[in-house]
Symmetry: C2
Subunit: 543 residues, 2 copies
Amino acid sequence: MAWNTNLDELPAYEKLKKLARNPFDLTVPGALSPERIKGYKAGGAGFDLLFATQRIDEAVLNGLQQLADQSCAVDQFLAMKRGAVMNRIDGYDSEERQVLHTACRDIFQETPYNAEATGQAKEELEKLKTFLAELDRGGVVNEQGESFTDYVNIGIGGSDLGPRAIYQALSAYSLENRRVLFISNVDPDDAASVLKNLDLARTLVGVVSKSGSTLETLTNEEIVRAAYREAGLDPGKHFVAITGQGSPMNNPDRYLRSFFMYDYIGGRFSATSMVGAVMLGFALGYDDFIKILRGADDMDRAAEDRDIRNNPALLLALLGIWNHNFLNCETVAVLPYSQALLRFPAHLQQCDMESNGKSVNRQGEKIPGFTGPIVWGEPGTNGQHAFYQLLHQGTTVVPAEFIGFRQSQRELDMQLKGTTSQEKLVANLLAQSIALATGKKDDNPNRAFSGNRPSSVLLSDKLTPYSMGALLALYEAKIVFQGFIWNINSFDQEGVQLGKVLANRFLQQMNTLHQAGEIDRGKHPENWAMLEAAGLLPHQQVD
Amino acid sequence: MAWNTNLDELPAYEKLKKLARNPFDLTVPGALSPERIKGYKAGGAGFDLLFATQRIDEAVLNGLQQLADQSCAVDQFLAMKRGAVMNRIDGYDSEERQVLHTACRDIFQETPYNAEATGQAKEELEKLKTFLAELDRGGVVNEQGESFTDYVNIGIGGSDLGPRAIYQALSAYSLENRRVLFISNVDPDDAASVLKNLDLARTLVGVVSKSGSTLETLTNEEIVRAAYREAGLDPGKHFVAITGQGSPMNNPDRYLRSFFMYDYIGGRFSATSMVGAVMLGFALGYDDFIKILRGADDMDRAAEDRDIRNNPALLLALLGIWNHNFLNCETVAVLPYSQALLRFPAHLQQCDMESNGKSVNRQGEKIPGFTGPIVWGEPGTNGQHAFYQLLHQGTTVVPAEFIGFRQSQRELDMQLKGTTSQEKLVANLLAQSIALATGKKDDNPNRAFSGNRPSSVLLSDKLTPYSMGALLALYEAKIVFQGFIWNINSFDQEGVQLGKVLANRFLQQMNTLHQAGEIDRGKHPENWAMLEAAGLLPHQQVD
């Protein structure tokens, strides 16, 4: 069929619309049969995707397969991996860039999809390997000849959320005496609270900004540099830059080392580039970082399968579209049954909502239906004691994506009442999936459960560097597949610009106030009124 | 008018429905006028609520005031404070309890609303004051006569989320050499990661469970007790119980002290009871905890005002209902411009969604419209670099509640390009509110912003114990007001039961497998199939 076709113009769309009028009823006794449960299972790169608890049947699955085929989702994915300029809007000024986050893990084959990008990735990995080895054997040390124990990551958005989520997920694998802290928010208390308990002398600081001009990051860098100078330490011996080759941050006078990121990798897809690599390499060691890349690459390859039953990323994308565009659910809850994945939903909020929270298609036309959903979630079992009440009995249906592991990361566990904690954890995950699907009748209406609330279960053996890489790539691929099928550009973020412009206007006004300058209330009167209503004008300036 | 009337039966409902067909257009040039901005402002207990960027006008505000009056929202709130049995469903078996979280901060007046509950709260506060003083002056010490420096809070849901959010919010006020860690998830890695870096000898452990039978909490307590025994330490000298008076945890042989919580305070409303008090008293000192209560009490009193323009909690509740029930927005984003409030949205997810994620009214009848929204959010400015793309240009409108402070908590700040970081933070908050409201036209459709995306701004001087207490109470009151207006019981959580039952069924099956017992696949066949599909059956048991 055709690339760049809107979802509602694909032949399978009307067929699925009809099927959606009467979706599979999971509450009928026997509907969730053993055959269904065992048959509705897909897998790849160490993950199983169980989807019997979705409101689908064979007809819907066939329709979703057609949707994938007709939108050329896999062909577009392959074109992306090869280096097509996917980040663009036809006929309008746009970023006009390749999208090559997959290239930085396509390092295990002799012939990568995009030799140039993978070549650059390998070059940076070699630099990193050397740097980490120098740290290990005392070639790079502080002013006193001591090794570095702490690392502060200064970055925001993609330079923070993904790397932070992965660090937290894999802290069980952290090297002895290595710790990472994060500063992201322009809120000065963020930097202050991190600096409070830090031995600056033993700390490396990684500053991450592709352009070298991100307001929050530069501001926080200056605050931390000032703390170094106050402590009589030389920032040039502690600071590392992760930035674009042409950026003002690529400056050996100010940084111990510079590692490069490239225009063809967007921030929210950059966790496996140097953006994540330097920090994670410090924390976990080089070899464990390579295992992350291995898992991601394996999932990137699993995502090439045209059969949706063999392609968990594509299937998850299509099930999401079924729930969102056909069953009209506005949100999706990502619910990891793993406390280590506490911040993974926050990463997905960026990766998904910044990619697919769009209103125009790749031809610049307004999209008639819905694009990206609202993504949210917290780990189970904690969430069960928080918001699951609404998932089960609320007036809004929330499709859920459960994520679980058969084994725990750390060895500490205990049998209590005949089962281990890890078993209790997984039992709760499976139970929730069934409970949401089947519901329960009850003579007390307040104790009845309507059921038919769809979910999927993603399972792997253990949360390791490899499976973390695979999970990351699974969601990245899910997100770009959805973007292809919605016919949107998932790779720009024009929606963040207006807020920046208006914030700068406020800052100019605040600056005027600092300098006790003349206020012109005729210029941007709503801003002055906002500052006054917010109690931010000096007394004599209030109307 | 009448209590216990459904929203759509209140006289103002139809009027508001009509007004919602053509809501105030914020994108018209001049619509967001200085007069509007300065006039649409409510306040109480140190907070200002700016609501000019909502899609409302005088007619809507009047309608919302009528909604409040006709639903007797304030009368119901007062009845709740006095001790009415609000946690019930007419004609059906239900919890039949009072709702008296307000009583534990109603300690500053001679005549409290409910003398008995406030008396019990004061008694526990006295016990806590004595205990904390003993800790301070070395009356309670460890086996070696050393003072306690760390505190581990073991609890889940309301015994975790609210207290944890407050601790994080106020860590700038923490006493020297006092640190709190949290274990909540049944995931064994949660306890393991906390225990890894802990000096058990210097640690107090607070176990929080009203019933004394919460699976996750008991399991984690046993894991931590085992660690104490392994270290040759006596748990009885380290463990403190926060529990119901009649619970099995009220046992002086096993606990150094017991502090009591009562049936009339639900978990999600318990942060200002002993559930939060013991841990926060340890971290911040008794006096700062009392300041939290003072802020909460002041807001509880501000919430009694019948004029919605003088009652920020009630107004926030009504604006939420306007956006949810009349403008059909399924979610609400809570966006604190304060990194210290990182976990406040997670607390609100429980407090709001567990309270109001209901489908039947207080007479046990199915609700025709929508009850509680999906609550989610992350701090700004971080969120701006994550999901704000969707807020500005997505196909789903997300009402936002911004929270900000004029000053930072810690003294560390720096001027860069003419403004401080704190100013940059607040400028961004105000800019986002305006940008979402007004939008922007552009010849490039990918750079156009539709606007008319509603938000409110909550502002206070500084995030302190007092303002944290007020903010907590503001949202608690907002949530119960919405429940009153929707005519639902916001105080039970029957929706969590089915998952528990099904999880126990899985655990029995896993136990059978442990004992290599006979599997009866005819009993709960879907469970056995799920265990098999999940790869959790031993090889010989797979079909």
